[in-house]
Symmetry: C2
Subunit: 673 residues, 2 copies
């Protein structure tokens, strides 16, 4: 399982010469020649457009596809988990037990899900770059760039009514305007038990062979009715055979393949170790919380799965960077570019930015966790709304308000004990980062220890109540100033430091953008422009054959079967996470055991691709991406197809499970039609 | 449960005015007047000497007592766990399932346990201080001090045949020579199931009320026969009633109550957060390892329990220091002392030492884990043995050789997969600490990633074989030089850095010793010398009444009962760690349910006190310390009796369990006789 941490930062672009089936290609920059030469495949305009429009992005971090004319959407169970969790209660645990609505009336509305369908792409590089004048320093340049991007988005939104995002590509080398149709009425149709979706649990995560039914089906609605979908995928249950060329259309979250040696060193020696410390801290915290009882375990489960998944992924990423030689290789590649353009200036700038980032490690002006995030958002929104839209921090611009408010006013359940646990830990971490003698720490703690302070804040805040949030949001800055909600007061205390750090961070990002733009131009010059940009959580096409690999002298076949799941359970003595749900055991005899279950291919994917449709040459659905194997975890920094593989659920197993295990014949009949 | 991390560093001494029943008193400095005044208790020479000689130290980190004339030793299950684990195999899991030898022949010899009985104490301050000349710098002073201490120990060992340790007290204010009778033939007699010993598991750890039979019984042998013990404790099953004064005689591992404000800031902002990051890292690592299967879970269990326990303890310690006000209070207390002696010099020295320690955070010359530790010990021993004993690093001096070799040549099982997992993580951590571009990192990794390097080292080393270690040890420095064992070669690569860092560290320790010695003298002058030194994992006496406390407006009674354990199980739906073993369920009807089970008192204890006997005014055994409650976790830095309590197993429950659950009548008849 691959869970995406959507971090919308710079979009990098690869600097290594493209090899094998490397590449996360823009739909307006598909490698047609390559596909023709290597795979004898002719990309037609219709084929690509149909696939683009049948692809869906989950704003919560993941990918999906339309699979019927009446709005069915297929994604991963682990992409849906956030929603399943929000729809669950102590009495009804959908995330654990699964769900099936065999009539429309029983489909459950997700409290705050937004789905995006990419409708068009437009290059706006010239307009964005024109707004940045040569005489501007980085801070001014950053502001000017943000402003023009907001303006472009706002104009587009007003003109088309579509969600409009200017996306930074090639680390700042190109700017494209993406227009999305938004779906905000999304309902749960079917989900399997977590035991089937995550069979093998954390132990099997990132391993292969695998046996996971990591899928869930939603339906999008418009005006209270199932949406009518023109572009949806039909299915091919016989597809994805060993050696078949397949395509993955989804939203890879982030890669950092353009990074210079110094930027990679920063990742290796600072950022990744720090992220891992944070993840382990939260993992242990959530475990301790779960020990309090089964209900606590349920409440924390979704967060826990995400943390464990990220921890394993980051461990693999760090291992890739700790491998001696890789960074040196990168350095020598870039030396050639430096010679080609006759200067090292952009690289020096990037190196200086990394040094600044190291210095900033001992500062923070924010706290993690949902309830504090709400307070912080309310304070920032009130302040930002005093300015014209293009001058605001990006997430507060008018064109984004609909999505922003859906999250801020989400009625999804929150649990005071869980929020208190997290807030106490965040306050302790705040003290650790800044040091206990820091004056801001004294203000934040208000004379109490982190645990007591968190308990007081949670007990006294009104922000658990959606109506209270709406009321405060409506009152604007006057409301914030008059508020005696202690969490609002805390966010106000931290506001100055938050803004200062964000300003510095945006300035550093701008410096990097300008430097990477120069490196990009050098690359284009040296290698032509048939290169793909680093992932940016926007729609990309990847491809490659269905193909096994060698590991420890053994050959790992490309496919597993549903019958294999039962064998895998037996091998593990039906212990731990290797317990198939009762529904599977009951149906064992009626399941066609040779049905292909999971398969691997060489397509270049990364977190965010979870739920991406896998299609064949005819554009027919053959599977759903849900993981990469452990060897693929270096994909953030470099692609390899020696052992690295993308892992998918075969569509045949989805249909077989719906028919033979979940008695969802109604649903099967709609799929692909 | 409290598991001791024995870190033999400076022994600090309290700087706050002694309050309530605060104090971990030296047996040659008991607070007789205080006991008389506060508790109307007259300490006699006989009473104290008997208790001292009946007290036992586990060199593996814990306390115990003699409880029969034929060598029975009572300690905690969690103190015994290390041995239970070493005596276990895939087929016979003593740590999990318990053990009972009803005849001597079935008693199982521990592979590497050493028990110490404190026989005498002698003040050698004058001789130690005389060896340090005023003209020496810190490095010279440290060497001279180590040398004279080694010499005193060696002379004593030769003269008396007893283990002889010079103990640094009051942070360097006093030096006492402790002589111990050593017992190295220690055999397991009885242990309960871990489900009974750790009922409630990690969730209940450091909580109260508790219901744990956290005890195990060993027997010491001499010349193949049960040792004849003159001083052993008789038992009083009716003791430890609410309000009764009780005494705890054990070996608290370390407190740091003398620390100056700057030293506490270092602990709060650097050392404790770093230790916690390390502990969480190892906890997650061991969890991941345990997922590989039940045998892996068993292999890693002992380490896991220790890590979880330490993590919880350190979290509490850090919370204590993050409490605003505490350090400032300390600063103002010390300001009075500074005025009294007219200088801030010692405090400035200590502050400078902390700054140096922060600088050293980015260096390390060692790796954790058993197999690397063996390689490092072999290399260091060979080098040190080239010098006369008093000039060697302390652990390599002749007087310590017996204990040292018992550990180095222990036949306890080691597991290649577990060692590989740990070593891979340690290599990755080494890269993180020093940074991936460090030249020493390149040498250590030898061109491979941490995982591959660890796999190669573990596969190629011969050090899993005890005979290979003995052979290498015998060959001395020539053997090390000629060795092509890759782990030996690795330890040689790291040797220079290890020695340099150790030298710096000992120099800093010496600077602190001298500074704290001056502060101690000032304290003695200001407050008289009836103060106790910080804990040093040497025998101390603590005391206080059996007493409940208030928590969240509820009153927590001092005692629980054996019947309460069954109720506690029911409250938790017999889930998770709240499952009593089968033996208890089978015997439920025959257990006297009102038997007192666990109790709390205000005695001042800390990790290392685990297994300490609790005795009444008559010196009779009434219980065994096994934990502190969560409020006591600040005890490293300050004592309070508002809510902080020591938690003990009542001796009545031990006898009742042996009789009614474990059918150990043979054993019961020997106890106290």
């Amino acid at each position: 399982m691959r869970r995406l941490l959507v971090v919308l930062i710079l979009g990098w672009w690869t600097s290594a010469a493209v090899q094998a089936d490397e590449g996360m290609w823009l739909f307006n920059g598909l490698p047609k020649q390559d596909l023709k030469q290597k795979h004898d495949f002719e990309v037609t305009q219709d084929w690509a457009e149909h696939l683009q429009l049948a692809s869906v992005r989950f704003n919560s971090g993941g990918s999906a596809s339309f699979i019927s004319s009446n709005g069915l959407v297929l994604t991963n169970h682990h992409v849906a988990a956030d929603t399943l969790y929000k729809l669950s209660t102590a009495e009804r645990n959908l995330a654990e037990d699964g769900y099936y609505a065999d009539i429309l009336e029983d489909e459950l509305k997700a409290p705050d899900l937004e789905l995006n369908q990419l409708v068009s792409i437009e290059d706006v590089t010239a307009r964005v770059d024109a707004a940045v004048k040569p005489e501007m320093d980085a801070a001014e340049a950053s502001k000017a760039r943000q402003a023009v991007m907001s303006k472009i988005e706002q104009e587009s939104k007003e003109k088309t009514g579509l969600r409009s995002d200017v996306v930074t590509l090639y680390g700042g080398g190109r700017y494209h305007l993406y227009r999305y149709k938004q779906y905000t009425d999304v309902r749960l149709v079917w989900a399997p038990e977590v035991q089937a979706a995550m069979f093998g649990g954390d132990a099997d995560n990132f391993e292969y062979p695998r046996y996971c039914l990591d899928v869930t089906i939603f339906r999008v609605y418009e005006e209270g009715q199932p949406a009518k979908i023109e572009h949806f995928l039909s299915v091919n249950p016989d597809g994805a055979q060993d050696g078949d060329l397949v395509f993955v259309s989804g939203n890879p979250g982030r890669t950092q393949r353009i990074l210079t040696a110094e930027a990679l060193e920063y990742q290796r020696d600072h950022r990744l170790p720090d992220v891992l410390n944070l993840l382990r801290r939260k993992e242990v915290l959530m475990q301790q919380y779960a020990l309090e009882g089964p209900e606590q375990e349920r409440r924390g489960r979704d967060a826990m799965l995400g943390i464990q998944n990220s921890r394993k992924a980051y461990t693999g990423m760090l291992a890739g960077l700790q491998n001696p030689g890789f960074i040196e290789q990168k350095r020598s590649q870039h030396r050639q570019l430096q010679e080609a353009i006759g200067t090292e200036q952009p690289w020096q700038t990037i190196a200086e930015v990394q040094d600044r980032r190291v210095e900033l490690k001992s500062r923070t002006g924010s706290l993690r966790g949902r309830i504090y995030g709400i307070a912080e958002d309310l304070v920032l929104m009130a302040q930002e709304d005093e300015k014209p839209s293009p001058e605001r921090l990006r997430e507060f611009r008018d064109s984004n308000r609909e999505s922003f408010e859906q999250a801020l006013f989400s009625p999804a359940p929150m649990y005071a004990d869980l929020e208190r646990t997290e807030l106490a830990d965040e306050l302790a971490r705040f003290v650790e980062i800044r040091g206990g003698s820091d004056p801001l720490v004294a203000k934040v703690l208000a004379g109490k220890g982190p645990r007591q302070r968190a308990a007081d804040l949670i007990q006294q805040t009104s922000l658990f109540d959606v109506e209270a949030r709406k009321k405060l949001a409506k009152q604007g800055l006057a409301g914030i100033r008059a508020s005696d909600d202690p969490l609002i007061e805390l966010a106000v205390i931290l506001n100055e430091e938050y803004r200062q750090l964000r300003g510095i961070s945006e300035e550093l990002d701008e410096k990097e953008r300008q430097a990477y733009a120069k490196i990009t131009e050098a690359k284009f010059k040296a290698e032509g422009d048939s290169v793909y940009p680093d992932a940016t959580f926007t729609l990309r096409l990847a491809f490659g054959p269905v193909q096994g690999y060698e590991e420890d002298g053994q050959s790992v076949p490309s496919n597993t079967t549903m019958g294999g799941a039962f064998k895998h359970q037996t091998v593990h003595d039906s212990e731990g996470a290797w317990v198939l749900p009762k529904s599977w055991m009951d149906a064992q005899d009626s399941i066609a055991s040779s049905t292909p279950f999971n398969f691997v291919c060489t397509a270049d994917i990364i977190g965010g691709n979870s739920g991406s449709p896998v299609v064949d040459r005819d554009g027919k659905l053959v599977g759903v991406i849900f993981d990469g194997n452990i060897q693929s975890l270096t994909g953030d920094f470099y692609y390899t197809d020696v052992q690295a593989r993308a892992v998918a659920v075969h569509i045949a197993s989805v249909l077989e499970a719906l028919r033979s295990i979940y008695s969802a014949t109604e649903l099967v009949q709609q799929i692909g039609r």
